[in-house]
Symmetry: C2
Subunit: 582 residues, 2 copies
């Protein structure tokens, strides 16, 4: 038996017990006549003491050879500590060691195994197994498990059934790029890894399985933006005989449950906002509503006043920055530089200070008088002491730019408190969005999302105006979940494929099984999927998902620890009926 | 709102309630003035009644158009049934319908949606979504969920953490064939799908994560034998600072917990048997010990008696078939034909009837007298009334043949009671096994399994005799779990790779990350993995896994429902830097 207790177990009540511990040497302090060792395992740290007067000589000698991260086993007696450490649960005791076995030696690790390590991202990823020994990563993984258990038990209690859907499925041209898997037994053919279990969960609804969920890996072969992973985890859910309201209610309750259990936070309301309103008010379909700084559209106020920049703009829109009137000229110039960065892309920024005395000072005083600026302040909600920042240009672009500025300023002003949780449903998403590259409409959500029945007549005349029965759950400015009521009859599904540019033959080849299924008695159904990596990160008070994933890949999709992907041998390629095409 | 209750909810206590139900038309009985409909959903069946006297005329008219599997919504009143149906929980009531909406029509399904369907395997797989509507399949999936929840909650309570390991990993030449995934971003390189998370769970142990588990999909590109799937699910576990005894103890308790919760069965003992003993006694490393019929080796008794067949054999071995002395000549001939089938492969079978009067009658009376046969009976444990069946030949082959005969006869004799559960640990597996095809030793378990320290000196002289710290959990003749104590130092691991025929360079290229990791303080560790599909099937009293998998593949690895694998277009291949090689 390697241990009688863990390194997080022992307390004052255990004094005088003979115990056995195993773990890693976190650090040693050698005072000659006495050696202290911090012994670490998953559960905590316990201090060991080797005392020349009380510890066998050969044990002390061995203790002197211990290096960081050696794996050891000790036997000894629990004693009360002279100088207690109130920062750790075992801080009242230490172990007077009588026996010591080195289970495994360790060479010097490439970075320190401490909460604040000296290791950079790259080296930590290469030696991820050492990184996992650090509390921040270890605790993130333990936390992820806790959230997964809460989700599973909650949904299970609510009557949901976890059903495993297949990983080796079929490639479809719609949506993101698939990862594919050549088939050895079916020459020249390929499986695809699922981007989501979408069609399978719909078939489960056709199969009468009703309340389905699954915490499941999904795959997208996309060029990786920061904080995206080629494989990611979803909480995937689907229900039959439901309307949008039913789904929103159940998943509000799931979210409430998680926030209550994990954070002790009670959420009364889940406000709702249409996509249109979110875009107008926050320039964004996943607004962070923990703070204000709402958009004020200034077209009618600011145009036709001889300021050509605004006159030529499709949209003129501003926000009020709390306390921003006190910014120096230099600070404001820096802000203007910030919005001009290629990542934001604005051409410039107009501003107006709302002085404490009720007067205004703007960068466009030549064109706008105090009355004009007072109206700007009223529209943007600016108060004395605030700064109004105004951007202008093409509507979609300027909204994105001002939204980026709003988030940046909120971050700087400390308005994005990670311990505050503000959920929001964004509803009534457009069904279709125009894609410039392919010059056709794409499904904004996916091709199985049902249009609002009253908007179906617009499909031919104004496809961009058709709204979908689709909704996103936004938490603190992050989309954590999204879903829709699905199409459940083959005619509407065929109509949808037609509008997405599929020929009937293509639709049949790709999704014939689903359209067939709809003919055998498909119930009305809908669902939602949560991005589990992000949900866990946000509940953990973080914005990046990487530390909540045990073995993440880098931005080139590589696992630098195992050095994958890698070459495979010609024999293997041959069996798979493929060859390289470099 | 589509329903106020499910089709399994309503009871006598609900009489007079106005309710709304949705579901599928299971069947209709039209008596002209009255129509009954069985309405089905996931939760049960409720009888609807449309009565010309009490139901609006147009509702009755619509009801007459209902076909099987139509999806409908009804409103009505719960009334007490005149002729109650004690076979279903809702059998005391029926719904007098006042409103009826057809939510979706259905064309005639290709097989009947009944417990005993008229649909064959192929058609059921093609329309799996309809098959799932049937109770046997639906209940198997619900049962699978129940078992998964029990496993997760049990292990979580025991301090295990579920950690998601990656699906896009690296191909290794060891073990079964990998499925691979071409990388678009890393030209000419490939990921592999995991055959198991073996190396990752070991790295988690090096990372101090200690008690790990995961219910996880694994992938093997093997020619599919019956009841194997290219993707399958494991309960994968690993622990640090453990010896074999610790692991056996914990997973005995998990198995006990499952049998208790699911079957109400209490298992006191988990007997243990060495691999060697299992092979000698049952000819099999996963013996079904619910019944006897143990092997009796007859070499010393049966050889050197002028019977050339036995004299030439490496092994002569028999079993006693209870009550088999009463078999007719024809029945015995059929048994001999059975062992001669190519799937079994015996050349013949010798038998001896143990008559009730204490005499013997054998097929080799020419060579063996009554005394000889009495000794056979004593060695095989045959009693008066039994039949001794004896096979002979090359040891491994004859053991497999007699094991097959033993299982077949037990099945016929009703000795394999699916409601009786007899677990068994098989321990001390050989570390290596000789492979005729490649003419070298392969790891019997996998290359990370530790040899028994006392057997390491045999690695060079008698590699086949080296025993591993490896164990299988067998339940009712099925291997449901297997694991080992792992190598945790780089020297032993290098030695192992050497004996498996890896050059040091190959070992480094394939498993360098693991050998590196072992240098940074690897703890002693070991684990186990359960085949979840099979575990669920056996707990469900079945021997085939297919109905416990929502969307299984056929023996060619095809999903006949979605018609996958499939061709992908040239553009997609080009992006992946591969072309077909047909």
């Amino acid at each position: 038996m390697y241990r009688s207790h863990s390194c997080g177990d022992l307390r004052l009540a255990d004094v005088n017990k003979e115990i056995t511990l195993s773990g890693w040497v976190q650090k040693t302090r050698d005072k000659g006549f006495m050696i202290w060792v911090d012994l670490r395992d998953r559960y905590g740290i316990t201090q060991l003491i080797f005392d020349e007067d009380r510890t066998p000589k050969e044990v002390v000698e061995t203790a002197k050879t211990l290096g960081r991260e050696f794996v050891i086993q000790i036997k000894g007696t629990v004693i009360e500590r002279e100088s207690k450490n109130p920062n750790i649960p075992t801080g009242d005791i230490e172990i007077l060691v009588s026996e010591l076995t080195i289970l495994n030696e360790a060479i010097v690790p490439p970075f320190t195994i401490e909460d604040n390590t000296d290791g950079g991202e790259d080296i930590r990823m290469k030696y991820r197994y050492l990184d996992i020994r650090r509390n921040p990563v270890k605790n993130s993984l333990l936390f992820r498990h806790q959230v997964a258990m809460l989700v599973r038990n909650y949904l299970s209690t609510e009557g949901f059934v976890e059903v495993e859907t297949p990983y080796l499925i079929k490639s479809t041209p719609e949506g993101a790029r698939d990862f594919v898997v050549p088939s050895r037994m079916n020459e020249g053919q390929f499986y695809a890894l699922p981007q989501s279990p979408q069609t399978f969960k719909q078939l489960l609804m056709v199969g009468g399985m009703d309340k389905y969920f699954q915490i499941v890996k999904c795959f997208r072969d996309e060029d990786l933006r920061a904080d995206r992973q080629p494989e990611f985890t979803q909480i995937d859910c689907e229900m039959a005989f439901v309307e949008q309201e039913d789904i929103l209610g159940i998943f509000e309750n799931l979210t409430r449950h998680l926030l209550k259990e994990i954070k002790g936070v009670s959420i009364a309301d889940f406000p709702r906002m249409t996509y249109d309103e979110a875009m107008r008010t926050y320039g964004n379909d996943k607004p962070d509503i923990r703070f204000g700084m709402k958009f004020g559209e200034l077209n009618t106020l600011a145009q036709h006043k001889d300021f050509k920049v605004f006159n030529d703009a499709e949209l003129v829109v501003g926000i009020a920055v709390p306390g921003g009137a006190s910014y120096t000229r230099k600070e404001i110039d820096k802000l203007i530089d910030w919005v001009k960065r290629p990542q934001v892309g604005a051409l410039g920024m107009v501003y107006a200070k709302c002085n404490e005395d009720g007067t205004y000072k703007s960068s466009v005083d030549k064109f706008y008088d105090q009355d004009d600026l007072a109206k700007w302040a009223s529209t943007t909600g600016a108060k004395p002491g605030d700064l109004i920042c105004v951007l202008s240009g093409q509507t979609n672009k300027v909204r994105a730019q001002l939204s980026a500025l709003r988030m940046e300023l909120a971050e700087r002003l400390g308005l994005r408190n990670p311990e505050e949780f503000a959920p929001l449903w964004v509803v009534d998403f457009p069904l279709l969005e125009w894609d410039e590259d392919t010059e056709r409409y794409h499904a904004m959500h996916h091709p199985f999302t049902s249009p609002k029945p009253e908007d179906i007549p617009l499909l031919d005349s104004k496809p961009g105006d058709v709204r979908a029965n689709a909704y996103d759950l936004v938490l603190n400015g992050n989309e954590i979940g999204g879903g829709s009521i699905r199409i459940h009859d083959s005619e509407t599904q065929a109509l949808m494929f037609d509008h997405l540019g599929f020929t009937p033959e293509e639709a049949k080849e790709q999704f014939g099984f689903l359209m067939d299924a709809f003919q055998y008695g498909a119930p009305p159904h809908g669902g939602i999927a949560f991005g589990f990596d992000r949900l866990v990160a946000i509940l953990g008070g973080q914005e990046t998902i990487r530390d909540f994933i045990a073995f993440p890949k880098n931005n080139s999709g590589r696992d630098v620890m195992i050095d994958s992907p890698a070459n495979i041998d010609t024999e293997q390629l041959k069996e798979l009926h493929i060859k390289l095409d470099l």
